[in-house]
């Protein structure tokens, strides 16, 4: 006689906690930086997304700092290589953009020093310098007459030309202030100038730009 023992199988649903990994595209900038900081090196997917989001910022900085350099794309890639290697050391992810600006500026300065070692530019068109190497306070611009009725595109072309025509130290200083939003102290540290010099350079650069673009700026 066979006896069958009824066995009741209890079925239990095992709940495995699953952390939902958000796609990198949906992460906020802050979370994306955090994601890139996990692991020994940033994951490619997350880092690529970070690069996509901030590449315009890097391009903008380099465009204004080095308007006549043809190899800015190479320089931008070097910026990202430095970011990749050092991102882990960034203690405050919320300050990523400032940190990125700093890397781009430092890299630009490194490259500028290298190029100056190779050849010292000497131009007869160079703006008149005072004994201390400073730009004369009121220097006549090549094209001082303000252009009237400029279209927006034309205005930005004029603005770009006016910035590019500024003597190097003045251009760098005003770009660090206006494009990168750095404080005077930070600019002094990066450029190796005193606070007074930074203040003076910014004012002179503004003076030149506003006098060249006066009519458009007043309209």
């Amino acid at each position: 006689m066979s006896q069958s023992i009824p066995v009741s199988w209890s079925s239990a649903e095992v709940m495995i906690p699953q952390t939902q990994v958000q796609p990198v595209e949906k992460l906020s900038n802050y979370d994306l930086v955090l994601r890139c900081q996990t692991g020994h090196r940033p994951q490619r997917e997350a880092f690529a997304e970070l690069l996509r989001r901030y590449q315009p910022h890097v391009e903008k900085i380099l465009y204004h700092l080095a308007p006549d350099w043809q190899d800015r794309a190479d320089l931008a890639q070097e910026v990202w290589i430095r970011v990749y290697r050092n991102l882990k050391r960034l203690n405050e992810p919320v300050k990523f953009q400032g940190w990125l600006s700093r890397i781009a500026t430092n890299l630009f300065y490194d490259e500028l020093r290298k190029r100056k070692r190779v050849h010292q530019p000497l131009s007869l068109d160079a703006p008149r310098m005072l004994d201390d190497g400073e730009m004369d306070w009121e220097i006549a611009a090549d094209n001082p007459g303000p252009v009237e009725k400029l279209t927006t595109t034309e205005f930005y072309e004029q603005l770009h030309t006016a910035i590019a025509d500024l003597p190097e130290v003045f251009r760098i200083t005003i770009v660090l202030r206006e494009i990168e939003g750095m404080a005077y102290e930070e600019i002094a540290e990066i450029t190796g100038a005193s606070l007074g010099t930074v203040k003076s350079r910014i004012a002179r650069a503004r003076q030149r730009l506003q006098s060249q673009l006066q009519n458009y700026l007043d309209s």
Binding site: L51, R52, A73, W80, I81, W137, I202, Q210, L217
Partner: protein
């Protein structure tokens, strides 16, 4: 310096009750005035300086105009467009990772290359190893009888001792007893 700003600084005493200091050192003053306004724009002024600039802005339409122009310049600078990149950003991503990969490989290639070179040298020296061409060798000399060598060496002094027969000075006899004198 804009004319209106300059004229304003001359006619308007923005520095207090004393006579207009811009009259005394015009160039220096207009530089300082503009610098102060510029620094004010950046929030890089002391409390006293801020008060001073705010006084100007309240009372002087020309300085108001200049200040407005500088604000406009700032806004334009910040919103200035950047020419579109010549290459798509995904190409940049690929190139960055490619550069990173190349730099990561370099030390490996170097170590690998050194290892291969070492292996080649080892193999070559192994082929010619039987002839001991490159391996260091210790020179072997035939061993002589100690007593004979000693006798020859001692019976012929290395340095000839000069003999002075009639001079006042005579070398003293060497305290060493040579074999032949012993004999």
């Amino acid at each position: 310096m804009t004319p209106e700003f300059e004229s304003q600084k001359h006619k308007h005493n923005s520095f207090g009750d004393s006579p207009d200091p811009c009259q005394c050192a015009r160039d220096m003053e207009k530089r300082d005035c503009f610098e102060l306004l510029s620094a004010y724009l950046d929030g890089e002024v002391s409390a006293t300086e801020r008060k001073q600039v705010e006084d100007w802005l309240e009372t002087d339409p020309n300085i108001q105009c200049l200040y407005k122009r500088l604000l406009n310049l700032r806004q334009r600078l910040r919103s200035a467009p950047v020419p579109a990149s010549t290459q798509p950003v995904d190409v940049t991503v690929d190139q960055v990772f490619s550069r990173l990969e190349n730099r990561r490989r370099k030390p490996i290639l170097f170590v690998g290359g050194a290892a291969i070179a070492a292996a080649v040298i080892a193999a070559v020296s192994g082929i010619f190893g039987n002839q001991n061409a490159w391996s260091p060798q210790i020179a072997n000399s035939p061993v002589r009888s100690d007593s004979e060598a000693l006798t020859i060496a001692l019976s012929e002094p290395v340095i000839q001792i000069p003999q002075v027969s009639n001079g006042t000075y005579k070398y003293q006899k060497s305290p060493v007893a040579y074999p032949h004198t012993v004999k």
